[in-house]
Subunit: 481 residues, 3 copies
């Protein structure tokens, strides 16, 4: 293939007032609010960055395709939706089948289809990464693809673009990873042992041992026994092992746990029923209803443990994982084919909230993919229960419009102070500053909209932007303590 | 405790163009439209103000805390959600347990936490009450709390701030209360007997005798027998008693009834089944399904009665009452912990609409807390059935954004003329002008938005603002007749 | 009745910048984008215009009432909702009962109530039809009604206002009708035989033979046998007959099929079960559950056939047809009383998408009336599956706000390139240019909003407006081929 390197292309840069409303008064206020927080440190309390990137000070990000395309299902799903095979993008197959190895060719396909990202959050983040993080001055198109690749490749070869260097340049105050209950946290230990000052903390995510239908669940229980030192043969020993792991995660800096479920269903089982289900699961005989009830019960148990050990509890509700059988069979999980469903919180959370929701020692942060629950259920619940807080717009809703809908539908009823600032929730490390910058800009624009409409005054807006950008997340996740 | 009274604080006032879009052209048109209705009388067809306030010409509102905090669950729920005990806000406990008695201290806690109300409708109403109704010139903060308290206390001691005086100053043309089917309406009678000219009308709300699961239902039936003079021992006598009460309410000025249910389910039972359920209920043996079907049937019966006696029928759907057991047990009902659920109207209302919906003698006004039903179900239904009208945005949606969503999602399909203007639905009497003013401003801004987008012309907008602010509500609730 | 013809009335015209935001910068960009596509040909891939209008070159539209009121349930539903009997609007009764015959009187009633259309899409389309298509210079009111009627009547009598002449003046490149599987397409054949150059194509809609509960289903099966030449006595012969008809429609220019269902439920039956249900249906013994499962299965079969014959598959989900029994009994179907219900796609489409969704030979275009599924389900699905595309906002949502919600809730996640431009879906032929013009204006305004917010640059916006206005629809419906 011929890669055109000789053409000259016009300079392109990100508009400095991006994401602000066009009205000059609102825009001026938005800009001033944004500027007051633009340089604050980034607090990233929930995400999926691989801690190995920071365990070895010489780790690198690889090629531009390895940095921006191959690991990012937000990106390759849009190419796939237009009929471009995942193999041609270098996505590894489970069966080891052949996939594209020429990363320049992968990059070219991506750039040839860059129009697919017009108006999408991935498009916005990529623009920020290329132009702000990497200093590229051309717009990415099929024609500029190889020229841009050259620049990225050269930068990635320098020490300034290694993970730890970018962590520092990005001004990240704390970054939390998400880790299985059975994870020995060796990379986190290596980071600590290395003497590097970056604050990277694990988060305790027990889904793979709590969800009885997880493939390999029994192996996970064996691993849980081994890593915890508690022989798990019953529901009480299962809980003991979880408590041991929580204590260990806490000793490694964790301030939070994370739980995912298809529905928000909570229910309390008797100890006998919990153990009977657990025994059936050990025998490989658990039914889908067993799994549903066991998860519902364990979510309540997790709230109880959080009251006792102080770990903040995150609850992500409403995604059908591995929806597309063909893609899952061929490429595995986390490949962009998890699809949301309707969620229900009012009835489903009632058992948990009735038991623990009035206890201010609990912080339960709920995330939804069903925006119809924002104003109808979650904001009224968060506006009453001391324990309940709303997480920021999640996943598909981590976008300009997603944020605006969140502000408009949540804030009047819940109040800003029952929300927790921003999560980037990303596995794409170089997109972190782009995502936080977008949140800060859209927050500033929302607040400027309140100021020009006489709903809050400028003094209040100045406090509120500090809260959305920095203070609320630190307080909710207990990073101040 | 030391209350600082000596500091000086900057003057603060409500922005005159509040709630209008910032675009200068839209803002100018919005202002002109607003000004054309700003001084129209207030028509309040649905709310929960206590008629006792007006039965005695010397009644007062008590302390500032008794006026603005203790009776207003919109206010104290936000303080509670941040971990402030309701006892510290003076909310009376059912068990007579000790609660804060120092109203200055309650006020101080409230003011110390006034940031919680930033951007909320309660914050907007409170600002209007303090600055417009009471003439306070300082922003309420922890520092100004006692100074503001002093001013409110002084005003509340004057005759100009008694309920009847404020009613007149607020320019209220008619105010409807909400009253149990068993209520003898003694306060309404006292108002009439007093010769005072204020037009205060009851509304017939039979929920406590219709919902078989209401605590104390059988006592309510006994009371219904007594007050109606009809011995209620069967379904037919139950209906007779309801008809007697409706006639009585009508004789006392009522033009409407009000019905609340968790779902919009309607269904017609045979007379035998209705009576069988009623007999089970009298024996204390009604099941939840009995109650559900009985309510569904009685809603249809109420439509039949409305066609006969001309009372407008209001139907409020979708709130789970007394959701939080702890708060309910300790403080009782209406404490800010009623939480919405998903609603369904298309299938649920079909029996009622098929039987009565084409009859123009019926006016059925539906209210929802599930905004996803606005454009999907309610606007198409109201855009077809002569009997069906949509109530204004309710409760959590009685807010700037709630109104905008309502205008945007309802009006294109239902048309303005299948809506009924505004309800304030409040138990907080001094918030009434704030709420109507907010509706008029947001309506004016919506209409100005249509004008600047060339969707309606200025002549039409001038008519439409009169309709939203005054004419539609009078027509729908038959106050013209 | 006296019709005032002598008054003079002020000139009235459509604002040239209608539907654009008021901000001067956004408005200027919106206008430029709009102007770049305003004169492009109209591509109308889905609608309900009667092909008879074009089969005879001398066909006319009749009176103004026959043109604009009597056949348009969008219009008369709003009059009916305010208590105006359909009989007084000339809507024919099934029983042949008397209805208003004086079309000037019908027009007067309509004009007297023109305020009902303020802010509605019908109001916008009517304004465009009167002022742009017919050159009327007065605003339609009760006072101008007869004067406007005179003008319309005079124009309709001229050759320039016959259907074929308007088709050419409207610059329609292709117009698709919707036709039953059993339709012999005689009018389409007559159009072809006439030598007229207008490109009018049929669309294959098999609902009346697929939905076992359709009134007259068995007669439809007899008709299917006759028209296809395949004796339909079993499920396999049913499928053969459908395949014959699809081939015939394709030979007549069809590029698409259309399927409607109350829910999006898909499921694969065994051949034995499919035939057993079919046999029960032939015996008149099919149950509602049989019908539901048979439709679910046939939708999957239709996807298989589309992969084989290349016909684009449209799927319209979520309307309860003939909701109002009284109106249906008296006036028949399609009378404005079809009401939407909640929709669910994630679980319902999974069987179909797992089997066929990864096959780029399939184009499945989904339409919803439940906007809560836009961001939650449809955009994520379309952003992954190569076969899936989203249809434009449908029916009640074919409006300024409906389009804005669609753009805001769909585009960030699905990307523009998984949508298919615009459908007018109308039976009101003269409203076609109004509807496409509105789409182009609102699209231009949406894109201008992205430009002023720095989300896309002007170059991209110039491409995107061509895509939304013209290119995407041609590509999706294979009109290029």
């Amino acid at each position: 293939m011929f890669y055109n390197r000789s053409m000259t292309h016009p300079k392109w840069h990100l508009p400095p007032d991006r994401y602000f409303d066009p009205d000059p008064t609102q825009r001026r206020i938005a800009r001033e609010l944004y500027e007051s927080v633009a340089d604050l440190p980034i607090v990233s309390p929930h995400g999926h960055v691989d801690p190995r990137l920071f365990a070895d000070e010489n780790a690198t990000f690889g090629t531009p395709a390895e940095l921006l395309i191959i690991p990012d299902h937000y990106v390759f799903r849009l190419l796939y939706s237009q009929g471009i095979p995942l193999e041609s993008l270098g996505i590894p197959r489970r069966d080891g089948g052949l996939v594209e190895q020429d990363h320049r060719q992968i990059w070219q396909v991506f750039a040839d289809n860059s129009h697919l990202f017009r108006g999408t959050p991935s498009g916005a983040w990529l623009a920020h990464e290329l132009h702000v993080v990497f200093g590229v001055e051309e717009k990415l198109t099929g024609a500029t693809a190889q020229m841009v690749y050259d620049q990225l490749e050269a930068k990635l070869a320098t020490p300034e673009f290694r993970p730890r260097a970018l962590f520092e340049r990005f001004n990240i105050e704390v970054l939390c990873t998400t880790d299985a209950a059975t994870d020995p946290l060796l990379h986190h230990q290596a980071i600590r042992d290395s003497g590097w000052s970056g604050d990277i903390r694990p988060t305790f995510r027990p889904d793979a041992v709590v969800n009885l239908l997880t493939p390999g669940w029994r192996d996970n229980i064996v691993a849980l026994s081994e890593v915890s030192g508690v022989t798990v043969h019953s529901y009480p020993t299962f809980i003991q092992a979880l408590e041991q792991r929580r204590a260990f995660f806490k000793s490694m800096g964790a301030t939070a746990t994370d739980h995912a479920a298809v529905s928000a269903y909570t229910a309390e089982l008797s100890p006998e029923e919990a153990d009977a289900i657990f025994q059936r699961a050990l025998r490989g005989e658990a039914t889908p209803d067993d799994a549903r009830r066991f998860t519902a019960h364990t979510i309540m148990e997790s709230a109880r443990m959080s009251i006792e050990d102080g770990l903040v509890m995150q609850f992500h509700v409403g995604s059908v994982r591995n929806y597309d059988r063909l893609t899952f069979d061929r490429f595995g999980p986390d490949m962009g084919c998890d699809i949301p469903i309707q969620a229900e919180f009012t009835r489903n959370l009632r058992p948990l909230l009735n038991k623990y929701g009035n206890d201010p020692r609990l912080t339960l942060i709920v995330f939804t993919l069903d925006e119809s629950t924002y104003a109808r259920e979650l904001a009224p619940l968060a506006g009453h229960y001391p324990a309940l807080k709303l997480g920021p717009p999640w996943w598909f809703h981590d976008s300009v419009n997603g944020m605006m809908r969140y502000f408009q539908q949540v804030m009047e009823t819940a109040g800003l102070y029952n929300t927790v600032g921003f999560n980037d929730d990303t596995r794409a490390f170089p997109s972190i500053p782009a995502r936080h910058d977008l949140w800060r800009r859209v927050s500033a624009n929302w607040l400027a909209g309140l100021v020009v409409r006489g709903i809050v005054d400028v003094d209040d807006a100045c406090e509120m932007i500090q809260d959305t950008a920095y203070r609320l997340v630190k307080r909710a996740y207990k990073f101040n303590e």
